[in-house]
């Protein structure tokens, strides 16, 4: 509290500078970051166990994201391997300005895009449809056919397994860009800033893709709940 009061008493420029430094300190002390730094050191020194610990830690995000860009699971695995090779070869260039995860995923996205393009997979652009079918609102824009209730069932874990399956399927069916944003943001828990960095998209674009993707998943859950009822 004293520190806060102290900060408040400083001129604005100094406060901004200190807030900036605090933000940097906060970033580098996020849970797991210190441990990751240590693993990276050990990896550079030739410690296989440290390398595999990093692989285990990032495997789920990497393979999910790679599969979003390339059709075949085998090719997705190649992309992941190729990414690790790129990471190892470039490790001395990793300055720690972004988090290791962001840096790693950026390399993966670059390789996956190149491979996906070679595979002839078209880059899906997010559709521009509304969040909810227009036919469900009346002329004044109020709900004519309101959302079905399913949240309580989900919270009661009545259909938790089925709902998870529904999400998985719906994610598969999303346009690529929406899926990538959703995977990084809602599955892997990256910040919106990190998502923009990894996918090289603007903040506004990220928000639209996130909104559309989430709306579609919600609709899929409602449809599934309707079928189950």
């Amino acid at each position: 509290m004293n520190q806060i009061l102290h900060l408040l008493s400083l001129p604005t420029m100094k406060v901004n500078l200190l807030a900036g430094l605090a933000a940097v300190a906060w970033r580098s002390t996020r849970p797991g970051d210190a441990e990751e730094g240590e693993l990276l050191e050990r990896l550079r020194a030739g410690d296989e166990a440290a390398f595999m610990a990093l692989v285990e830690r990032h495997q789920p995000s990497m393979i999910r994201l790679a599969r979003s860009f390339v059709a075949s699971p085998a090719v997705a695995e190649e992309v992941v391997q190729d990414t690790w090779l790129g990471v190892l070869r470039g490790i001395d260039k990793f300055a720690g300005r972004s988090s290791f995860r962001t840096w790693l995923l950026k390399i993966l996205v670059n390789r996956a895009r190149t491979t996906g393009a070679r595979e002839g997979r078209s880059v899906a652009i997010g559709d521009a449809g509304p969040a909810v079918d227009a036919g469900r609102f009346d002329a004044t824009g109020a709900w004519a056919q309101p959302p079905e209730h399913w949240v309580q069932d989900s919270l009661d874990r009545l259909h938790a397994q089925e709902l998870a399956e529904t999400i998985r399927t719906a994610l598969e069916e999303l346009p690529g860009r929406q899926r990538e944003v959703l995977l990084l943001r809602d599955v892997d828990g990256l910040t919106s800033e990190e998502v923009c960095d990894v996918l090289d998209i603007s903040e506004g674009n990220q928000r639209v893709l996130l909104h559309r993707g989430r709306s579609r998943l919600r609709q899929a859950l409602e449809d599934a709940a309707g079928e189950a009822a």
């Binding site: 391997q81 509304p130 824009g141 709900w143 809602d186 928000r207 996130l210 909104h211 859950l221 409602e222």
Partner: protein, 88 residues
Amino acid sequence: MRFLRRRREEIACRQVVELISDYIEGELPRVQRLRLEAHFAGCEHCTEYLAQMRETIRLTGTLAVEDLTPHMREDLLGVYRRWLAESR
């Protein structure tokens, strides 16, 4: 105040559903956020919709992680060993 009140009344459910993700993200400008909250206070369907979006996000975050297959583990160890050999 009357101007503000009229603006708040104008927001329709159909517009609310387009703003909900930004609302959850805390990305809406204050005036728009207040308009949305005023709408939620009087609309059970949009309140339900908001709860559903939050639950959708929560459920998406619980997707099971995929384990590393033994052959991938071998392949990746191979990648590391080759790099180690070429970098020494």
